[in-house]
């Protein structure tokens, strides 16, 4: 097997004794769009800056296209970085901003002119080439930053929270545009984001980070359906998965809180062999259905709130002290009160103590 295009091994970084990255291994294939996803302070921006060369790692190595780069200064790495605040040079016009990287490479004038034109055309800003950054809207500034990073034909394009400074309407269109840009240029892209919906819709693969570690690195579908831990399950998906604790009784039966419960034969087959006092089921609306309170295998619950979303309704049901969310079609009639909740598919099952998904399940 050929080594990955970008390969990060044993990367660690601490700020004044506080670890920001504990031990990170990550590989990205050529032409892939990878999202580094995690809450703020998880180390994703640190990782991005280490790859760009703006930070020095305490340990670990980075190879890009077969070349070891962790000792190279940032200006020798050929890595494009689009900053969260865009970082356009305020004293240069749009065209000069885009040309900057080419000037630094002493590219002949005619060739540079052509590259600047191409890069601006790619982000549809040819008509604003003579403007100053202060005369542009936020969305336009971001495209200039993008064109500037692309113009150098980087070996790798890094995006730091590219959508966070845009308003909600613009965000959706830029999301699509970035995807298209990635498809057209064939660039390898690493994007940092804290927004799981952004990561899910844009990336080929996602690395979910927390507390300086990568918890799971896989396609959006696997991360959604087979989360590696309860953290991933709760962080990814709209709405996020709810954790429902199921206890094992001394007699071998199961219990929800204080009351006994008989799971469906399908689920029981998975639960039976697990030698644990308790486990947590990661339940998404996809796993659940409303039934009568006295239906076999149903969990008794109480409807708390109903969110109307047009095509569908999200019903929040309290089961054993935990709120579960169910999805019903928009025209389905539901009232409030006592209901039963059935588990229709086997959900991912997590260890109560470690939070890790039990290998036999999901």
């Amino acid at each position: 097997m050929t080594p990955a295009y970008l390969s990060i091994t044993g990367m660690a970084k601490a700020y004044r004794g506080t670890p920001a990255l504990r031990l990170v291994d990550l590989s990205v294939n050529e032409g892939e769009f990878l999202a580094l996803l995690g809450p703020s302070g998880c180390g994703k921006s640190t990782l991005l800056r280490l790859v760009a060369g703006l930070l020095q790692p305490d340990a670990g190595s980075i190879t890009l296209a077969g070349q070891s780069i962790e000792r190279l200064p940032p200006h020798q790495r050929d890595i494009g970085l689009v900053f969260q605040n865009y970082a356009l040079f305020p004293h240069m016009s749009v065209a000069k901003n885009v040309r900057f990287g080419l000037s630094m490479r002493n590219m002949p004038r005619a060739e540079a002119d052509q590259r600047v034109g191409e890069a601006l055309a790619l982000v549809k800003l040819e008509h604003l080439a003579a403007r100053m950054p202060s005369e542009l809207s936020g969305g336009q500034q971001q495209r200039v930053a993008l064109a500037r990073a692309i113009a150098i034909r980087p070996r790798l394009l890094l995006l730091d929270e590219p959508l966070s400074n845009l308003d909600a309407v613009l965000r959706n269109s830029v999301r699509t545009e970035l995807r298209e840009l990635h498809a057209r240029t064939g660039l390898t892209v690493v994007m940092v984001t804290h927004d799981q919906a952004e990561a899910m819709t844009m990336a080929d693969r996602i690395a979910v980070m927390s507390d300086g570690l990568i918890l799971q690195h896989d396609t959006p579908q696997v991360i959604y359906e087979q989360p590696a831990s309860d953290f991933v399950a709760k962080f990814v998906g709209t709405p996020p998965a709810a954790m429902l604790r199921v206890d094992r009784k001394h007699d071998g039966g199961f219990g929800l809180g204080t009351s006994p419960w008989t799971p469906s034969p399908e689920l029981a087959r998975v639960l039976e062999p697990i030698q644990r006092v308790g486990v947590a089921l990661g339940l998404r609306p996809d796993h659940l259905a409303l039934t009568a309170p006295d239906a076999p295998h149903a969990m008794p619950g109480t409807i708390r709130t109903i969110e109307y979303l047009g095509a569908e309704r999200l019903v929040h049901v309290e089961v054993g002290g935990q709120l579960l969310v169910l999805r019903l079609s928009g025209d389905a009639a539901v009232g409030k009160g006592e209901v039963g909740v059935a588990i229709t598919r086997v959900p991912p099952i997590f260890d109560i103590e470690t939070g890790l998904r039990l290998a036999s399940t999901g």
């Binding site: 760009a52 060369g53 703006l54 200064p73 494009g80 605040n85 970082a87 040079f89 150098i152």
Partner: protein, 265 residues
């Protein structure tokens, strides 16, 4: 309601007018008196002529003093600006224990009486053997003006977005090229502002110069001051002062127009 507001406005305008008169009247007096045709300082003048301006250009003593002032001012500015810019850069880009005390210390000469400071300096210069030398005078002025330079450059660097430098480096600019293409173009208004302010402060300085400079390096204001003490006001100096005033006003207008001085200092 409107009437009351009009009344308040009138009071404010009157108050501002008084302020302007207090500040500007002495300047008006000097400017008018410089065009006088009499042989002594008199305001208002009885007749007008340019003879004191001619005398000013003819006087080698004042030319020399202006030359000394100019030389000391330029050298002190160069020293103070270099030291101040480097200190400000270090202060703006690093976090260390005692940073705020160093900041306070760098600004301390602003609050110290010059005369007290100069007496101490005189003693130190005697030990170093640089009393009465050009070097001594330049260093004294540089030290006096350093707080201005640090202060202005510090606010300049704080306003300079650090990610711009990072962006430039990821685009392929080596550290010297980052400074040349990004940092310098963005900080030059601050550099120019502190250079002019430093130069003017040095140019106006009397107390320290009197004590530090020997007879070889008499700056213009010192010369003026000693003239005033011995022979009273020489109309020649009034003419020179009026010219300097005009120059400073021009600088101030340029500074305000292009560099927003009033918002920077």
């Amino acid at each position: 309601m409107n009437l009351r507001r009009a009344g308040t406005d009138t009071i404010w305008i009157a108050w501002m007018a008084i302020g302007y008169i207090v500040v500007l009247l002495p300047i008006v007096v000097v400017v008018f008196a410089s065009f006088s045709d009499s042989n002594t300082f008199r305001f208002p003048p009885t007749g007008y002529s340019l003879k004191w301006y001619q005398a000013a250009f003819a006087s080698s003593e004042y030319r020399n003093a202006l030359g000394v002032s100019l030389l000391v001012g330029l050298l002190a500015t160069a020293v103070s600006l270099t030291a101040g810019t480097l200190a400000a850069y270090a202060l703006s880009r690093s976090e260390f224990r005692g940073k705020s005390s160093i900041e306070t210390l760098l600004l301390a000469p602003l609050a110290l009486p010059h005369i007290v400071w100069a007496i101490g300096l005189l003693q130190i210069y005697a030990w170093l053997g640089i009393g009465g030398t050009l070097l001594g005078l330049v260093l004294a002025h540089a030290a006096l003006t350093l707080p201005f330079a640090v202060r202005i450059m510090l606010s300049t660097f704080i306003q300079l977005d650090r990610t711009l430098q990072e962006a430039a480096s990821t685009l392929g600019a080596s550290p010297p090229r980052v400074i040349w293409h990004i940092v310098l173009p963005l900080i030059w208004p601050g550099v120019l502002t502190s250079a002019l302010l430093t130069f003017l402060t040095s140019f106006n300085e009397v107390t320290v110069s009197v004590l530090i400079a020997g007879s070889r390096y008499l700056t213009y204001p010192v010369r003026l001051y000693s003239e005033l003490r011995s022979q009273g006001i020489d109309p020649t100096t009034v003419a020179i002062s009026a010219m300097l005033l005009a120059l400073i006003v021009v600088f101030a207008l340029i500074g305000e127009r292009f560099l927003n001085w009033s918002r920077r200092v």
